[in-house]
Amino acid sequence: MAIIEAKKLTKIFGPDPKRAAALLDKGWSKDKILKETRMTVGVNQASFSIEEGQIFVIMGLSGSGKSTLVRLLNRLIEPTAGQVLFNGQDVLSMSTEQLRQFRRKNIGMVFQKFALFPHRTVIQNVEYGLEVQGVDKKKRREMAMNSLKLVGLDGWENSYPEQLSGGMQQRVGLARGLANDPDILLMDEAFSALDPLIRKDMQDELLELQSKMKKTIVFITHDLDEALRIGDQIALMKDGSIVQIGSPEEILMQPANKYVERFVEDVDLSKVLTASHVMMKAETITLEKGPRVALQFMRDRGVSSLYVVDKGMHMIGVITAEDASDALKKGLKLEEVLIKEVPTASPDTLLNELFELMSNSRLPVSVIGEDNRLKGVVIKGAVLAGLAGNSSLMEGGDPA
């Protein structure tokens, strides 16, 4: 079940939001409403659902309503219409006290400009959420310290925020968001204020943390590379509406419309696509078979080399047609003409890393999964097709 579900969530800024919401229902556009009623549609009937443990990225340019949308989820901004469900519970009908408990226990937040309290030390900042809950001092110190350790800032607990660099300050922000162990973490452009290099470190760190914690994260960003890097699902927003929701691959490969297409056309695909996207099925043969059988296989399947594997699909090496016919003439076994020096990659290897492997070897790169089984092979043509964004040329592979 989805942990968060938004149904036609709408926010209108202006003197009579309900009226404008009714007009939206009638199918009026944002521009028309602005022109006729002077009211601004911040978020226009956004619907989505977020599965537990997902990183759900809401992406859009500034003014697209993404920061408003994330604030509708914990009612920092009160929605005009629509529904937010948390584990099936209606967030919008919560009383003030219920909402306060929801914010204290279930939903944490990290802010773009960190929003650390300047008069409190690092540890006092991190424990703020626990303090307002009334957790006793010793216990909350302990929990806050754990959270601080998680982001690698133990030893800094008695410093003040202004003494820390931007990256460190946002780690404090992250630790504060995590300290009360919420089910959901909202991250509003959390890394946008950081230098590019530090931003990348923070993204890596977030992914690493996420692999341990399995939180549900709603991540707001205007940076497509960031969205593709960390998102399990991406919702692309424009003018307050969600234009497309999908996995990074879907957004890149099947853009829903011209807007998304233009948005993604400059993406460096080599940093997004992985070996598993472009690999093809490997033609295999087991070691017990002889050169004659190998040649026959190649002829049948129209290939010039075969991957030699054992019964568990563990790769042993490659046999080419040339070597196989050589072996046949000289009466050698397959084992004796086998090429064992084969370039290998994991399914998660990015295309730009595959380039290097391929330039060093005449052979295709074989893709080996975590179970050491041969998953497929990557040939040069498929990589180039992938970079061109041409998904049809990449098909015929076996996405193991």
Binding site: N74, L76, R103
Partner: protein
């Protein structure tokens, strides 16, 4: 066309008379509280020999400010003592401190109210403007009616004249707390009072202290006016020198006010600086 004059003065006079007859117990209570506070402070300040207090004040000034501040306080207070104005100065200090204490106790909560409610702010701001621009002599008169002659009406009119900066700057200080910090406090589920005490007041403290500093300075500026209705202290000496045309005596008493003003100002400024460390 002859438009009759609005009988504003009659209305005010009858309002005053009505208040005097109907709210007398309240005025008695206020008189008692303020009178006791001034008396208590005054007898405390005159309990010790002047030299002991001079050393204590100088040490305090040194602790809050720098050594220069301590030295100035020491010399300044010695001069006052030398001019035989010590007891009068302590009476004045008692009056000023009482006015300041009540201004803070009343002003900060009103300031907080203004910061939280647009309606309260819209009602209270013009009242503060009125209090600060109406010539202080004018509210001396009802103060005498309600509280008799003496130090109490002096303190009351000092409070009326001096309380606005504390209210205004408390309001301003809280409103100046950055929006994203308030949002963060909300996002973590703070109650309004948790937000106030854990975030807004601590961050507003330097601004509130600046308001308190202004309040103290303004109530000091009221001491001469207060002396006209019977408040004792250096103000009384200034007033007497003016009416008798004694320039030298007036200068001596005036100098004591100046010295006291500088010390109180630098002390509160020092406290502001300390509260601004973060």
């Amino acid at each position: 066309m002859n438009i009759p004059k609005i009988p504003l003065s009659k209305w005010i006079d009858s309002l005053e008379a009505w208040l005097e007859t109907n709210l007398d117990p309240l005025f008695k209570a206020i008189r008692l509280i303020i009178g006791e506070t001034v008396d208590g402070l005054e007898s405390f300040l005159t309990l010790f020999p002047s030299l002991v207090l001079i050393v204590l004040f100088s040490a305090l000034a040194w602790y809050i400010g720098k050594w220069k501040m301590g030295l100035f306080t020491f010399i300044g207070l010695l001069i006052i003592d030398n001019l035989n104005l010590w007891n009068q100065t302590m009476q004045t200090l008692a009056l000023v401190l009482t006015a300041a204490i009540f201004s803070i106790v009343i002003g900060i909560p009103i300031g907080i109210l203004c910061a939280r409610s647009e309606i309260a702010q819209r009602i209270i701001t013009p009242i503060l403007d009125f209090m600060q621009t109406m010539p202080a002599f004018v509210y001396l008169l009802p103060a005498i009616t309600f509280f008799n002659l003496g130090v109490v009406p002096g303190v009351i009119s000092s409070i009326i004249f001096a309380i606005p900066p504390t209210i205004r700057l408390t309001n301003l200080g809280i409103r100046q707390v950055p929006e994203d910090l308030v949002e963060a406090a909300n996002a973590f589920g703070s109650t309004p009072s948790q937000k106030l005490f854990k975030l807004q007041l601590p961050l507003a403290t330097p601004t509130i202290m600046a308001g308190i500093n202004q309040t103290i300075m303004l109530s000091l500026s009221m001491v001469v006016i207060a002396s006209m209705i019977g408040a004792q202290g250096v103000g009384e000496y200034v007033y007497r020198a003016v009416t008798q045309g004694k320039t030298g005596a007036g200068f001596e008493a005036g100098l004591a006010v100046v010295i006291l003003a500088i010390i109180l100002d630098r002390l509160t400024q020092g406290v502001i600086r300390k509260s601004k460390v973060r």
